[in-house]
């Protein structure tokens, strides 16, 4: 995990919380599982543990302590909501996520954190086992296999999302809705807000140029 901590950009704790909130909102609105922000999660955890350590040592019943505690709880809420949201997506799309992980080229960053990867694999094994025990083993031998990739629906990348532009983008191709329309290009100005298909702007979400809202 040493490589992940060599983040070239050093964030202040305030910026860190801000980037966690942005990751949280992106994850909530994106139809597919986004790249895991393990380094943010780890750094936030570290901050929280550090703060809780301090709070334990401090005098109880102090006004200051209760303010700190409230802040810690707010951050913890965002963090767990973020992680829960990812787990929900993993449970929903596990075959496709694992398949993507399998064909991932070496050196390319994984979209799963090591813990999430373990969870996904276990979830797959358990689901398979469960289906086998409940029904499949009573089936004729030629029907005892389930192809999860075909049985579980894929994330719908065509769905519409709302977004706010953080860095100006030019020449975004918009595909027509039906045959009579022609495709056209739009520019996304900084701070403007748009409603558009997720597929068209998915790379921009990943690079952080736009924020889903």
């Amino acid at each position: 995990m040493a490589t992940q901590c060599e983040n070239p950009v050093v964030l202040t704790p305030a910026q860190l919380i801000c980037s966690l909130e942005q990751a949280w909102m992106n994850e909530k609105f994106a139809p597919e599982l986004l790249e895991s922000k393990s380094e943010i999660v780890e750094c936030v955890m570290e901050q929280l543990e550090h703060m809780e350590e301090n709070l334990k040592r401090a005098k109880q019943g102090d006004l200051k302590i209760s303010i700190h505690r409230m802040e810690v709880e707010r951050i913890r809420y965002v963090l767990s909501s973020y992680l829960r949201c990812r787990l929900r997506k993993i449970e929903k799309y596990f075959p496709h996520i694992l398949e993507k992980e399998k064909i991932r080229a070496e050196g390319e960053p994984s979209i799963l954190s090591p813990e999430e990867f373990a969870f996904a694999k276990e979830y797959m094994a358990n689901t398979e086992n469960h289906l086998k025990n409940v029904a499949l083993k009573h089936m004729p031998p030629n029907l005892q296999k389930v192809d999860f990739l075909k049985a579980v629906p894929k994330p719908n990348l065509d769905s519409f999302v709302f977004l706010r532009v953080k860095e100006k983008q030019e020449n975004i191709m918009v595909m027509p809705e039906h045959d009579e329309q022609r495709e056209y290009v739009i520019d996304l100005d900084e701070n403007s807000q748009h409603l558009i298909r997720y597929k068209t702007i998915a790379p921009l979400v990943a690079s952080g140029a736009v924020q889903l809202i």
């Binding site: 006004l63 700190h68 802040e71 810690v72 769905s159 809705e177 329309q181 807000q193 748009h194 409603l195």
Partner: protein
């Protein structure tokens, strides 16, 4: 995203309070606050302001825009124009609601402000419905939504995007059906 979550985000907005206690500067993870001195205004995030107010440890100073005359202007502008006008604060609705619920005694003409903000909200939501309707009718693939706030997007957004997804599915299935007519049953 649920309304409660949008409100959670709104609680980060800074507001001014006048504390009645003294406390040194505190170093939160999200930044430093204070120092707090009785009678001296200080900026804190809304979540803290509401909490301190509930414990009767401070008086709230309403934001500059939370003023009957200013809001009347904004409301009239909003009614006059067909597009969405810029709002004084990206979380104007949530701030109004929280401040008026917990600190109505610190805000002059609270009832009038409540009505004005509600009027603005209603006007904007009505506009949003009309534009969503024309968006769907014309089968557009892209729309610009400048000046809409997060709360406004989220009250109508989830329903609209789901509806669009369903329509898209129905339409693509139709096209698919045309191309593979000779399906054997």
């Amino acid at each position: 995203m649920e309304a409660a979550e949008v409100e959670f985000l709104a609680e980060r907005e800074m507001v001014t309070i006048i504390p009645n206690f003294s406390l040194d500067r505190i170093y939160l993870i999200g930044g430093e606050l204070g120092p707090f001195n009785p009678g001296l205004p200080v900026e804190v995030p809304l979540w803290l302001a509401v909490n301190l107010k509930q414990r009767q440890k401070c008086r709230l100073v309403p934001p500059e825009w939370m003023d009957v005359e200013k809001l009347e202007q904004i409301r009239d502008q909003e009614r006059k124009e067909d597009t969405f006008t810029p709002m004084p604060n990206p979380f104007y609705m949530e701030l109004t609601k929280l401040l008026l619920n917990y600190a109505a005694d610190n805000i002059p003409k609270a009832d009038e402000i409540r009505t004005l903000v509600k009027d603005m909200w209603d006007t904007r939501i009505a506009k949003l419905r009309v534009s969503a309707d024309s968006f769907v009718r014309q089968q557009e693939a892209h729309a610009t939504l400048d000046n809409l706030t997060l709360m406004e997007i989220n009250t109508t957004g989830a329903f609209l995007t789901q509806a669009l997804d369903h329509m898209y599915k129905l339409r693509t299935n139709l096209q698919l059906g045309e191309s593979v007519q000779s399906q054997d049953f």
